[in-house]
């Protein structure tokens, strides 16, 4: 007897929907086993996590705050992945965006008396450009010299993070900061406005609107323009794309301008909307979580928004159990990784079914 995968005539839609749901449940079981091993009650812990993420208006607003950079970074990753350009460097591009955001009000246009809204616009522009330029390095290397982009995007993360640390602990450090490592605050000069008071949305800032607009634009771009079509064809079949006369090199560069720029905007939101300065806690791995989100959302720009909120919930919930139950926040990362494993394993059942074949004689 032998069990084999047999290709379905039509991919199963039912299973395509079920896979992510079952995956989340199984991943929570894996996390539960880990919690049991750590001597914690899984049900109670998960309830505490859920309450910490969605239980109160405050929790919900904090989850949305966390979701903003995740949304932008995941959009960044997903458009690159659509073209099979493995941009693992969203973290670094986010960091470069954050640096540029702070650079504009603190140094470039300091004491010029520029109105806050103009300043905010210029900061956003600077962040986009900085992220895009950081993304263009691996894109050009790939486009012109065929250098493996996985390694280069990843290495540039480390370089960007070291640069950030250097700046706020070294030359950009606030002299009046009582030794606190960080730049001076530019909150008085330019701060991204929060959502209107009546929404009761706490610290949620206009970065959310940027993320929603970006998602819509990317969706239109991918599905309604010729260029979007080229990206999708290249991702699905690079050989066919080449024969069709699609300029791969140019598209790599363009895609990475958009991708790096979006990741840069994620950094912009974090700095102009939350921290108002460069300090510790800007590079917290959002660029990596974005990879999971993008893949779980099947690289769909609107799906990314939803998954980003769920992952943000897992993260704020994870912080909550760290505070109240003394459990490591890394729990959330383990569960995230496990979700991805199950989705990867489950995806085959969309196209294939299991079939038992009876074989005669010895097997």
């Amino acid at each position: 007897m032998e069990i084999v995968f047999e290709r379905r005539l039509e991919p199963s839609r039912l299973i395509a929907v079920l896979v992510p749901i079952i995956s989340v449940v199984l991943a929570l079981v894996v996390g539960g086993i880990l919690l049991l091993a750590a001597g914690a009650d899984p049900i109670q812990t998960y309830r505490a996590m859920f309450d910490g993420a969605f239980g109160t208006p405050y929790a919900r607003s904090e989850t949305m705050v966390k979701a903003i950079p995740l949304m932008l970074a995941s959009l960044a990753v997903s458009i690159a992945f659509r073209m099979r350009f493995w941009n693992i460097g969203a973290e670094g591009q986010l960091v470069m965006g954050a640096i540029a955001t702070a650079w504009v009000p603190l140094f470039l246009l300091h004491d010029r008396g520029i109105p806050a809204h103009t300043l905010l616009l210029l900061m956003g522009l600077a962040a986009f450009v900085a992220g895009a330029l950081w993304g263009l390095i691996p894109a050009s290397l790939k486009a012109f010299l065929r250098v493996n982009e996985i390694i280069t995007t990843l290495m540039l993360n480390y370089v960007a993070i070291l640069l950030l640390d250097y700046l706020y602990t070294g030359p950009w450090k606030d002299k009046e900061g009582y030794g606190f490592p960080g730049t001076a605050s530019f909150k008085e000069l330019a701060a991204l406005p929060r959502l209107p008071e009546w929404l009761n949305a706490g610290r949620v800032h206009m970065g959310l609107i940027i993320a929603l607009v970006a998602a819509l634009l990317i969706w239109l771009l991918l599905l309604r323009t010729k260029w979007g079509y080229e990206i999708r064809v290249t991702g699905e079949n690079p050989e066919a794309a080449r024969y069709a006369g699609i300029n791969l090199a140019r598209n790599f560069l363009l895609v990475m301008v958009v991708s790096g720029g979006l990741a840069g905007l994620a950094g912009y939101g974090q700095v102009a909307g939350i921290a108002f300065r460069l300090q510790k806690g800007i590079a917290v791995g959002d660029g990596f979580t974005a990879i999971i989100i993008a893949w779980l959302a099947k690289l769909h720009p609107l799906g990314v928004l939803l998954v980003a909120i769920l992952m943000a919930g897992l993260s704020t919930g994870g912080d909550q159990i760290t505070i109240t139950m003394g459990l490591p926040a890394a729990m959330a990362r383990v569960v995230q990784g496990a979700i991805l494993f199950f989705v990867l394993g489950g995806d085959i059942f969309v196209r294939y079914r299991l079939r038992v074949i009876r074989t005669t004689g010895k097997t």
């Binding site: 750590a38 990843l154 490591p328 990362r333 990784g337």
Partner: protein, 318 residues
């Protein structure tokens, strides 16, 4: 230049390069079978934390190594099942493994200390340097090459062994055939899936041992983010080495050398900020990768196994 200084740089170079050699050779074996495993960083860091925890609680280095071997097997088998049996995307599966592994390592690091407390800052058993009789008497070189810890000697044995296995034995030939042309290998009667499983698992073991060298010898103990991207550097080294074990050593020495020089400069009180010295290995990786890619293209030769990253399904082969 001062000879004593050179010897000390070479000594540190070898120490810094050992974990890279283990991981790179592991990945070479895996990739030679056609499976791309980007989970190196996750496996390495898990190897590091579990090896140290094992050695710490048992008081035995061997137990630590054994646990790292098991952990490497387990983590690599996740990747193997997902990519070989379930035909999942190898890039994404590897990334998931890295995220999962680094999250779990951080979790374990905060739990596996004495009485469920963090491991950070604990002092456990570590490999000490043992001089090889006679060989360590060789002027200068002996000092650098043969006054090292036992895992370094393990590496000295590993490299020629793997090179011989790969190029001179029948199973090595089968391994290369599976990575180059699985359909032909299949027709020759080689079990493609089984071969890929075997070398993905074996690769995982070596990668985890690379991590163990970090926590048991190079920088004994456990700190968050102990591997610091070495897993990724090893992936770049595989390309640098064009999937050849000997060249992997050359690459690891180069990178270990950059590490050693970085420490030297720091100790000598250079005016360069530490952050820029810290960037060196990463920038160096990019530069080397660019040069090697350009060079390979120039020679119109690709060193990568032809079937790398492509799932093999007998019924659907093209």
């Amino acid at each position: 230049m001062d000879l004593a200084l050179l010897v000390s740089i070479l000594t540190v170079t070898i120490q810094a390069g050992t974990s890279l050699v283990f991981a790179t050779i592991g990945e070479i074996l895996t990739e030679r079978s056609g499976i791309l495993n980007l989970g190196l960083e996750g496996i390495m860091i898990m190897g590091a934390v579990t090896a140290f925890a094992g050695a710490y609680h048992s008081g035995s280095l061997l137990v630590g190594l054994l646990i790292a071997v098991l952990v490497g097997l387990l983590l690599a088998s996740i990747h193997a099942v997902l990519t070989i049996t379930f035909r999942a995307d190898q890039v994404v599966s590897g990334l998931a493994l890295t995220l999962f592994g680094s999250g779990l390592a951080s979790f374990l690091g905060q739990r596996l200390g004495p009485g469920g407390k963090p491991l950070v800052g604990e002092v456990g058993p570590k490999f000490t340097k043992t001089a090889v009789p006679l060989l360590s008497e060789i002027p200068y070189l002996g000092e650098a090459l043969f006054k090292q810890d036992p895992m370094v000697y393990g590496m000295y044995l590993l490299v020629p062994l793997v090179a011989y296995y790969l190029y001179k034995t029948r199973p090595g030939l089968h391994l290369r055939a599976v990575g180059e042309n699985p359909a032909t290998a299949d027709a020759m009667g080689i079990h493609v899936a089984r071969t890929r499983y075997l070398y993905t698992l074996l690769g995982g073991v070596l990668i985890a041992l690379g991590g163990a060298h970090l926590s048991l010898a190079y920088t004994p103990g456990w700190t968050e983010n102990l591997t610091g991207g070495r897993g990724w550097i090893a992936i770049a080294l595989v390309i640098f080495a064009t999937w050849d074990p000997w060249r992997a050593v050359a690459g690891a020495i180069l990178f270990g050398g950059v590490n050693a020089i970085q420490f030297r400069l720091q100790a000598a009180g250079t005016t360069l900020p530490a952050a820029f010295l810290g960037m060196l290995p990463y920038l160096f990786t990019i530069v080397v990768l660019v040069i090697i890619t350009w060079w390979e293209a120039f020679r119109k030769r690709v060193g990568a196994p032809a079937a790398l990253g492509i799932p093999y399904v007998r019924e659907e082969r093209g």
